[in-house]
Symmetry: C2
Amino acid sequence: MNPDLTERQRRILARLVGEYIEQGEPISSSWLAEHSALGVSSATVRNILARLEEHGLVRQPHTSAGRVPTDSGYRFYVDGLLGARKRQRLVPELEARLRRAGTVSDLLENASQELSRASHHVGFAMAPASQTIRLQHIDFVSLDGRRVLVVVVATGGQINHKVIEPEEEQDSAALHEAANYINHEFSGLTLHEARGAILEQLRQERVVYDVLMARALRLAQTGLEDVGSEETLHVQGASLLLDGLLGELADRDRTLDTLRALVGMIEEKHRLIQLLTQYLEASGLTVVIGSEHSHPDFHAFSLVASTFQDGDRTGTIGVIGPTRMRYQRAIAVVDGMSQAVTKALEGQ
Amino acid sequence: MNPDLTERQRRILARLVGEYIEQGEPISSSWLAEHSALGVSSATVRNILARLEEHGLVRQPHTSAGRVPTDSGYRFYVDGLLGARKRQRLVPELEARLRRAGTVSDLLENASQELSRASHHVGFAMAPASQTIRLQHIDFVSLDGRRVLVVVVATGGQINHKVIEPEEEQDSAALHEAANYINHEFSGLTLHEARGAILEQLRQERVVYDVLMARALRLAQTGLEDVGSEETLHVQGASLLLDGLLGELADRDRTLDTLRALVGMIEEKHRLIQLLTQYLEASGLTVVIGSEHSHPDFHAFSLVASTFQDGDRTGTIGVIGPTRMRYQRAIAVVDGMSQAVTKALEGQ
DNA sequence: ATTAGCACTCTGAGGGTGCGACTGCTAACA
DNA sequence: TGTTAGCAGTCGCACCCTCAGAGTGCTAAT
């Protein structure tokens, strides 16, 4: 990306972005001349900055101000960071801490919490739906009236439950038997396979003669509908979003709107899930900066995400913060955490 | 409360508070003189306002501004509203809608959603811990290694699950038998009673000879620890809190801090639960206004809450918004909803 | 007790000024 | 040809002043 920059231009840009991220104020040519270790005067730096501005990498908030990175400028900076990523030393420690979690859900909750804490931004962790999640155990519990509670336990300690209302009334013993039958016949299959197999059996003629079996199959069919199709998303640190406001209170109208949109997204997780799913395909670490987002509500924010593996399932973890984010730190944290999560899941 | 006000003073105050809630701007003496239907001049109103100010019911943001209610002023207004509460007509409709929910958890989720939508503030619904929640069904599922997933179904479709790691390894069949035994012996008891009974049995001598039973009891003991002690809280509409900001952007330093505190609370629900539990004792509808809150973070917000009954359990629903809130509407919504929730739960 | 009238206070918008921060450009220089 | 010192120019911002408008408190008359 942007290979048509001289070495000197690169160095000035990197220094500018790095410093702006720290200070949050426009960087002047004289400051860069003093601190860039290039031994050139501010006038020279001004020339360089003019070129960078032509390339759309930096801009001036107003005529007599220093330069500020554009989203493209951040992109350049981040690409530089991604190229020279460091060894992660804290992975084993993180992994050990994550390993204490009982279910996958607990583990991801911890991970998102840790991401938020370490990055000072919003941390999230998503265990995506998977065709390959397996049915481990099913249970039917009679509630009052005809209503039946279905509890589905899937691999990784993932639990779903829902209430169904079958045609006929079911007593406890019958439900128990039905669960036994289903567990015996279908556990170990993926949810997808199990649904298929159940439909298949229902179509066979034997069902007509075996009332018990028919009942079990129908319960299971209703009970397994939809289960496992929703991703689960853990989000932590939403209150930290407000800190971004303090800094950027200048153009508050736009910021406040996007902020509200973001808080809304965090509340209604399914919208956020939809958005994150886009980036799942990109393997490894992904950084999406401001206007690179397809959704306008995200133009004021950046996303640092990475995938993790749980057997053949792929999930996503990451961090959401303002475009003026400490990318270096965020990338290190997300990278380390994704490795730690993958390893912790291997052990389970 | 404040019975030492003349009728005229009351009417002026009520008009002032009502109008300020609508407009959000200080109310002048001349406006009140024109709209209070008392047939007095603005000078007279000014005298009255001076008295009200002595009582601490209204205040002036600055010398040449109109009056604004203080928290005490809101209190007076709200007490008036509470005295003359209206019949609720929409209860049956709400009730019917709530009844469609499967579990109690779903129902409360719907209720909090509806509260937020109708009041335009943050809506919440809390099913508190209870000594009287009953064990309906327990299940042990073997995960990899020694780890065992315990699923506890309690009355009202409330589900808890946790992973435990017993001393000895357990195979599937043994777990199954253990669950059967526990279900047979202890289901129907409250969680509290069940825990007691299990401890009692463990102390008896028979246990020494009956390995199966001992195992079952130990699993259940570990599995039931803590279960049902946490309240569950549903919160909806956090993004609406930001709207309060737009209006009160003036004293943004304080507001922003409290806002952050509030968003944090909504994220870390246990802190909010702690706070709400205080108000549980107050039977019926409770309104807590700004500085009446014991926690300073809440001084900028008001709470309208009411309890509902689920058999002998008591839960709380309500609304959180700025002190300048449409109390009339909020009270009606919360009142109606609490009745609807109680009725919907009776039907289950 | 009420009210008209008036002096007073305070806010907030509008406008002018000067300072400081940077830049872009130019001309001299290596 | 690239670099730099110097300088003029631009802009934001803090500051000051002013003035109209809004609303009050007080007083004297009814």
